[in-house]
Amino acid sequence: MKTHWQILVVDDEEVMCESLAAWLREDGYVVDTAASGREALEKAQKKDYAIYFVDLKMPGGMDGIETMMQIRRLHPEASIIIITAYATVDTAITAMKEGAQEYIVKPCNPEEISLLVSRIVRVKNLQRENTILRKKLTRQYTVHDVISKNAKMQEVLRLAREVASLRSTVLIQGESGTGKELVARALHNSGDRALKPFVAVSCAALAETLLESELFGHEKGAFTGAAQQRQGKFEQADGGTIFLDEIGDISPKLQVDLLRVLQDRSFYRVGGSQEIRVDVRVIAATNVNLQQAVTEGKFREDLFYRLNVIQIRIPPLRERREDIPLLADHFLERITHELGKEVDGICESALRVMMDYNWPGNVRELENAIERAVVTCRQPKLTEEDFLFLAPGATEGRTWSPPAGMSIQDMEKVLIAATIQRAGGNIKESAAILGIDRSTLYEKIKKYEIPR
């Protein structure tokens, strides 16, 4: 939209100034004028104009070039157009070297000014959109820290903000599902590497040989299947941050390689002989007690100390219960939007269930629970019934494991029998709980010879 971008016309000749301003206003722009370089600077201090038209020759000790240089110190992003009736090659070169976007000679063709301004505005609109999208992306990964009231979590975030722009290695410890990667991203996005890559690697997800190639890359022919040279994650993260999740699971050999990278900031690709140097900030995460792993000889002590320069411990959800309603509301809003389903909120009874549950899977489990509840709910709001799947005895947070050696048919028989018993023999209710129709339930009762 044109009115978003404001223009300042600077010319000591009033007629020149006002006529150009009037012409630009007809084009829909908001335009101010200044009769001198000094006046232009005063106005530039109060308003961030997007475009400046600055006359080259102005009296009073501050010509167009000087005015432009001063404006650029205040607003490096401003587009400045030098206009002059006295064009010379030297002034043109000087103007462009000092940062003028364009140098136009008056009188100029109306089309020239019109095209110039629309071109500048088009680029600025794209730049603005880019900035907004980047900010949105950043906000997405700091939402969790905004929605915590818990004192321990606030301390975590305070520490994260403090160390965001440091190069020091960070070790994030916390149970599975507590948001270690989110904190790592928030850390990255809050620091001076925010506009650089953030590369995440799950160290537990890959076999040792694959992980080595994943982290450090490989040369062509390094192993069977290495058809071409490939950059590893450390190279991809150059200038930015690498997030090594589940660092406690890496093999002894990889621990040695990683130690070397942390010490020397360099490594070799698999099968390579050329040393590669990178500038990467390392954030590692684990749900393992690394100190204990060191004591047990499973993790290198020197690597532990290299990683543990700054330690951030994220409390489990059960230690920050006051955040459950906030997180639940946040997930509800996001999930209903994603699924296109209208759910007005969460009933008190449902909140009580969530507050009483221990959440062994932490925030991730809460998110999954909300999603499941939204999918299955039949009421305008989420109710206690929508969270019945939270295991009985949920306050103890026991995780159910299937008995060993059971077939699917055995499991189905046990489940149907238990459901009918819990429903007091009511087939209609049992069918609803099991999510099947009554005729199907009758068939299964007959098939498994389940007593009623």
Binding site: V15, S19, A22, W23, R25, K106, P107
Partner: protein, 174 residues
């Protein structure tokens, strides 16, 4: 509607009829003095700002708007020429017929083309008087035209958006 002495009366009358029809307002014709005072010998053109000032000064008290028509080639200092100029949301405007004629470009005269261009430019400048800015719809009379080719590509009418803006009510005099 006001015309400088050299302007063809028949052209002015035709333009008045268009404005009456387009804006559904009564249009009165008045004569203006010559604009020689605005002549810039260096450029061989007439300064539009000076002409506009005179037009505003001579606007009858009971007139909502005044649009002057002149055969003189107009300019504003920073541009090589203007087809016209108007006070945005204001009272006075001026249209130059000079560059609307085919003869200006060394071509054979064409009254039909000329009148159509004149109609469009009068619509455009009058639209500015009622607060309309340049429209991105290149067919709309309010789109910016920096050449006769662009004028020829416009319609002699406002687009829906600009028409709606006009219907919301004319802006008052500045």
């Amino acid at each position: 509607m006001a015309a400088t002495p050299e302007t063809d009366k028949k052209v002015v009358q035709a333009i008045c009829s268009h404005v009456e029809a387009d804006f559904a307002v009564p249009v009165r014709e008045i004569d203006l003095p010559g604009v020689d005072f605005a002549f810039d010998a260096g450029r061989g053109q007439y300064g539009s700002i000076g002409v506009l000032s005179m037009v505003q000064r001579l606007c009858p008290a009971d007139a909502l708007k005044i649009l002057a028509i002149t055969e003189r080639d107009l300019f504003i200092p920073v541009l090589t020429f203007v087809f016209g100029q108007a006070q945005l949301g204001g009272r006075a405007g001026v249209v130059s017929l000079a560059r609307l004629r085919q003869e200006f470009y060394g071509l054979a005269g064409n009254d039909g083309v000329f009148m159509e261009r004149a109609h469009k430019e009068v619509l455009h400048e009058t639209g500015h008087l009622f607060g309309l800015v340049h429209c991105p719809d290149q067919r709309c009379a309010m789109s910016l035209a920096t050449s006769v080719r662009q004028i020829d590509g416009k319609d002699a009418a406002f687009c829906e958006r600009c028409s709606a803006h006009l219907r919301r009510g004319p802006t008052g005099s500045s």
